[in-house]
Amino acid sequence: MRHGIPSTAADLEVLREFEPIVRYTKGEKFFPMEVESYVRASSLWLHVPGGVDEEVVAEGDLTMDGLVQRREAPFGSLFYLRFIHPLDLQESAAALAGERRLAKRQQSEFHAGLGRLTRGGLLPRLGDGLFSLSLLLRGNVPGATAAAAALKYAELREQNDRYVYQGRVVRQSGWTICQYWFFFAYNPWRSGFHGVNDHESDWEMISVYLYEEGGRLVPEWVGYASHDFTGADLRRRWDDRSDLELVDGHPVVHAGAGSHASYFRPGEYQAEVPIPAPRAVKRFADALGRFWRTTLGQETETKHPLRIPFIDFARGDGLAIGPGQAHEWTPNVIDETTPWASKYRGLWGLFARDPISGENAPAGPMYERDGSPRPSWFDPLGFAGLAEVTPPPGELEVLEGQCAQLEARQVELEGLIDDEASVLHELGVRLQSMRGSPHLATESGRLEAEAAEEAARLTGLRRERAENDAVLEGLRRRVERRRAGGADDPRAHIVHAAEPVPEATMRFNRAADLWAALSISVLLIGLAVLILASPSNVWAELVVLVLVFVIGESVLRGTFVRTVNRVAVILALIAVVVLFFQYWKLALVGLLIGLAVYLLYQRFLELRA
């Protein structure tokens, strides 16, 4: 029997009963903290579109009351906190050096290992380079901010070394939901772990979904938030041991290094970011993909060629926080009446003016960046795809209710069908008696239309009865299974589960890794040499150079067959176009003759048959 807690327990007790154990990756610098010390160490700013950002409250003067104080601001403006003030060159250098010393002192240096760039081909690596360049154009968190944040956070930890979660208990549609919100001073995924983005502050969340039975709250589902994803894929059933690890009844979370995204299993997760492209380009690429897969019958793999392979390192080999671990949680219960959660709608860190928001700080647990309500707060069931799932104790009742309702409808339908059939029979008899009487043509036409209408109605009723039969059969089967105590497959709801990259495919040989690191630069240098050495043939030679790079790399990556096939098909398609334009008359004549011969053959077979 699953463990539970009396349903009369206070929210804090319920939260403590199911609080998670979070395992971080070695090298992680930021851990869940209380919000007050962060706010006190930050300044409050106002961003007005088209204007200069204005400091509203200076660092050191900001209090929790000051944060939630109502302030008038024009439409389109945005309040945000700033944990790290702008650094000059000297401060940046000092921060970077200080962070290195801190990492050594804490013995928490991160080693990515080889293989990140090798996991994508030349195009993804080119995309990776372009992504790095895009940070120069997009708004982004300045380079040394992560280092300065790490130092400032370490100082705050010296004053208060508690690991805090913001716990919330909410009751919806028969479920009791425990939400554990984790607040971090900084998200150093890009600067510290070769990830997608950096931003000041970070909010992460996991939920435990409980149902009430026999006066006890029993856990049924666990949902781990991961980046900006929502839906059923995020949740696991409490008894799903293939993914969910429990230690003394506490779910284990493996947090991504820097990103703090939550995963069920330890490992390295490949997070691929498609490079944004105009809709027309995407449509063209999709059409090409369909042609490749359907017309040419090639592999069904649907990876976007222009993607950047980022890795979320959720190794779980670093600090562990939770019951029975070296570090325990300090809970802080929150709800809609918690002022900092409900009254402050601004960002919890720097607004970096990044148009795609990756580098802008998040808002609080109740709000999105634009100040609108956050779905995971107001609709925690929908967030994990549980809106249509009935708590187990109530399911049988709902099922039986549905059965009774459908059975009643079937009885009603039987009567309606009989009535409708009788009406149609009468109409049919009347119609038949009118045949051969030209003076009744008008009346016969009217009756025919009426009969057609009645027949359609009868067909609809019969269809409904047949469909109801099928639904009833399923409902009855489920009722029987429920009565017998049978459970569903715990993973039936999962469409795409986040899987760590298997060890076997994660590491390539050193030559491939070295090549991955150097190839784009070598290619660019090669192009430069060609422009200088052989300017007249540079395009032709560039084509050869790229082909040599692509095929050479495929040998190192063990994908020679796939690559040579792709290259050959692309070249063949270009050749087909060239040949068609060169010999279009001949091609047309050949096509017509071929068509004629084929049709003649078909007719010949028909005549012989």
Binding site: N187, W189, G195, V196, N197, H199, D202, W203, A225, S226, H227, D228, F229, S259, H260, A261, Q270, A271, E272, V273, P274, L296, G297, Q298, E299, T300, E301, F310, D312, I356, S357, G358, P362, V495, H496, A498, E499, P500, N537, W539, A540, V543, V544, L547, I551, F560, V561, V564, N565, V567, A568, V569, L571, A572, I574, A575, V576, V578, L579, Q582
Partner: protein
């Protein structure tokens, strides 16, 4: 001990050669024969060292084509890779000649194109053993992590 080596192992299923492969194999044989004949003719005629080396290269290419054709007809997986590599080199050569040097050999381009299109279908690759039978692999680690990271 007779038969010991095969004891307990299922006989390898005989793969029927698709007509497209026979076609490509015969094409390669013809190509090889053509190259060898042309090379022999050049060597027999004699001439400068450069001319002789051209003839020797033709003979070597012809021999290679014959070896590949034999492998293709016997459904060897290396023959598929070799033929495709040959086609990639040939098509690149002819397309570059077409686009940049105005000196293309359209017959060679057409032959290489036919060979590629004949060897490309998935069932041909499966028959050669260079590709496993297609099956569904649900592979998605995480989706776009841009936001909220």
């Amino acid at each position: 001990m007779q038969g010991h080596a095969t004891e307990g192992t299922a006989p390898k299923p005989r793969v029927r050669r698709p007509p497209a492969v026979t076609f490509v194999g015969v094409l390669a044989l013809a190509l090889g024969a053509y190259h060898i004949a042309a090379g022999v003719a050049v060597v027999v005629d004699g001439g400068t060292a450069s001319r002789l080396s051209e003839g020797a290269l033709d003979i070597a290419l012809g021999a290679l084509a014959v070896v590949i054709a034999r492998g293709a007809l016997r459904m060897r997986s290396w023959a598929w890779s070799a033929f495709m590599t040959w086609a990639v080199v040939g098509l690149t050569h002819q397309l570059l000649r077409h686009f940049f040097y105005d000196d293309p050999n359209y017959v060679a381009m057409a032959l290489d194109t036919i060979a590629v299109l004949a060897l490309t279908p998935l069932e041909i690759q499966v028959a050669f053993g260079v590709r496993p039978r297609p099956n569904m692999v649900l592979e998605r680690a995480t989706r776009n992590p841009f936001d909220g990271g």
